[in-house]
Symmetry: C2
Subunit: 421 residues, 2 copies
């Protein structure tokens, strides 16, 4: 078995590279070179033959991910499969199963069977959950259990995994010296920091990183290097603790590339708008331009119920300044698990951010779509507008069977056409 980066380094073009180059309208040799450099990854477990290979990184369109998964209080595999259908229908490119409810393995297998979208997981959630459930002590989690869960996820066909390898003793020390308003808001990051605090030992994902690379390499599972210390509020954004972890992640990207393993880096989080450009560019430099996968960033802390919007504001600017992959945020963020309706709203909003960033980044297809929509708008052609709308259903629902009621006979387009044409 080989990996995309290994083949790319050898100068080989795989069918997945061909597929993505055609879809993204990019020269396949340019794409191959970017994969060889590690600036683009292809999400596809080599055991999963029917998955849609999805490229993430420099020169490609911005992708979006939708998170689903059970929780202790809401644990129905059926409900999650319903969400997968919503995700596919709404146009998200990737999904993550973040289940922490009952029967995690069963839920994961059912999700894999139900979709051709690439899927990510956070194996630490399963390992950590079971330690907490059994011993009520995260410190009792063993390295063997964690690594065996990782291999189990890879073997089951997962295309990428989030691993918080960067939460090292050095980084936790930086955090304690920093002093933060919201400390750690990453579940996996918090579990590992607490494990370090409880045991006094180094993060096993860091200490045994070579072993981790060996496991994922077999399946060509992409590592998504989690940002366990991402800021959980604007106040903490860009602090020494965050940057310390980013430095560690950069080292790990380098080691992954050398080992023939695909890797991307996760980014924040809560970041005021003014800090976003420098932060994105700093992360890119510190991680040697690895594909950057951000959660938000949300630009204010005061909008629970509307964090799909605060994330779209930050995500658009972040993607313009280098982020390649946006994790959606739903209106339920900070409040509870999203229902199917909130999942859909999160996806559409995230697609808008990704598209607006594609336009700003000069993607020709995205710019052309905007132009076609505008021509249809000028022609007062409502059917044609529906074709280009990001959400045809909502467009037609608001229209409610009749064209714009806003200006009537005083419509600027109508008047202008009468006098100037």
């Amino acid at each position: 078995m080989t990996t995309q980066i290994t083949e790319a380094k050898k100068g080989n073009i795989t069918p997945e590279m061909e597929f993505i180059a055609e879809k993204e309208n990019i020269d396949v040799n340019v794409l191959r070179e970017k994969i060889a450099q590690g600036r683009v990854v292809i999400l596809k477990n080599n055991l999963r033959h029917d998955v849609i290979p999805t490229g993430v990184g420099e020169g490609l369109t911005v992708k979006i991910n939708a998170n689903i998964g059970t929780s202790f209080e809401r644990s129905s595999t059926e409900e999650e499969i319903q969400k997968v259908k919503v995700i596919e229908a709404s146009g998200a490119h990737v999904l993550m199963d973040l289940s922490t409810g009952h029967n995690i393995d069963e839920t994961r297998m059912a999700i894999i069977k139900s979709t051709k979208l690439p899927i990510g997981t956070v194996p630490m959630y399963q390992a950590g959950k079971e330690a907490i459930d059994e011993f009520n002590d995260i410190g009792r989690l063993s390295k063997d259990k964690l690594f065996s869960d990782i291999e189990k996820h890879c073997r089951s066909g997962i295309d990428f995994i989030t691993v918080h390898c960067g939460v090292t003793k050095f980084v936790v020390d930086a955090l304690e010296k920093q002093g933060r308003v919201t400390d750690i808001v990453s579940r996996g990051g918090s579990m590992l920091a607490c494990w370090i605090k409880a045991t006094g030992k180094e993060n096993p994902l860091y200490e045994y990183y070579d072993e981790l690379l060996d496991i994922v390499k077999k399946y060509d599972v992409t590592l998504s290097l989690g940002d366990g210390l991402r800021p959980g509020c604007g106040y903490d954004a860009g602090d020494r603790a965050q940057v310390a972890e980013t430095i560690v992640l950069g080292e790990l990207v380098k080691r992954a590339r050398k080992a023939g393993v695909q890797s991307m880096v996760e980014g924040p989080g809560h970041v005021p708008l003014n800090k976003i450009p420098a932060m994105m560019e700093t992360i890119k430099v510190l991680t040697d331009y690895a594909p950057l996968y951000v959660l938000g960033p949300i630009v204010t802390d005061i909008a629970p119920g509307y964090d799909h919007i605060t994330a779209a504001i930050g995500g658009t600017l972040a993607a313009y300044h280098g982020a390649d992959f946006l994790c959606y945020v739903t209106p339920a963020e900070h409040i509870g698990l999203p229902n199917a309706k909130q999942v859909r709203e999160g996806i559409i909003t995230s697609l808008i951010a990704a598209h607006a960033a594609d336009v700003a980044r000069g993607n020709a297809a995205a710019i052309e779509r905007d132009k076609k929509m505008s021509e249809a708008r000028k022609n007062l052609d409502w059917d044609e507008q529906a074709k280009y709308a990001v959400d045809k259903c909502v467009f037609e629902k608001i229209m409610n069977g009749k064209p714009c009621t806003m200006c009537g006979q005083y419509c600027s387009m109508k008047i202008f056409n009468e006098y100037f044409k």
Copy 2:
């Protein structure tokens, strides 16, 4: 009768300046100086004693406006008064009555009576509508009718008026030479361009600008110099036609200041994210740092049904780069007149953009509110979070009586506190 800018130039501090300086936590002498320079305006007709004087411009928090008004097809004063109640309850700072339905005067008087918020109108809508209704030809509109409608609006207590003085023969010529995808999307701008085309004469609002200044000065009505040639799609953004008009607006700002009239400048529209920083800074320079009032800007054309969100993305970045005043956009934009629910959604989204920009601009009170929210979040204090939430109702509705169901006993905050405190 005098005006705020006249008093400020004399070195006098008015009660309105005192009120705003206290509310915005800014030194009253700094504020007075900015009003004297024309970089800040106070929206308040001197006949309207009970209005909340509202400052717009450099150094102040970002304000938001909500548009309401009847149309030919939906013309109920009662419905508009309902919207005023929604606007006040949601926290918008200003509203505009853009009525083009029946009984425009009656609707405007009812709105004025119903609120203490500053109110703006576009008198050209009334004048243009009546010419179209009566003669089916905008070219038949007379200068006298237009100016008498302007004076009528001022006399009735309106605090600011949009006047498309910058749509001159020179600018219309620049437009025709430019060639655009969506030509003109401003109703007032379109009416005046067509008037020029039909009559061959100069825009009366430009030709008789001194007379216009005399009228508004009597009431201290602020001129909002409309951008009749704002881009109606990303493709047209920042073109020669738009900048030609901005140059004219800059000249008119200078003349208004000299005459002792307060003025602000309106900005776009549809603008891809990458063009926003330079465009805002260019408008500010060309108009000698007049308060800048933008509609959006929306960052993609393909999201009808979600243009409150595309406007929040663009509006936050625009305000960070100099815009002072955001006109809200509702989910119904480009499709129809908004209902009360859509008005509310537009306002909350716009408030989020304004607040996120205030945070990014370093406003101490805005940053403190985010910090308080984050402290409450870390303490898992849901009542305290509701206090700082931009929309307490929606926050509590999603919460539905119980705290976050997302992570349960695996909550990062909870785990971290156990091991680190």
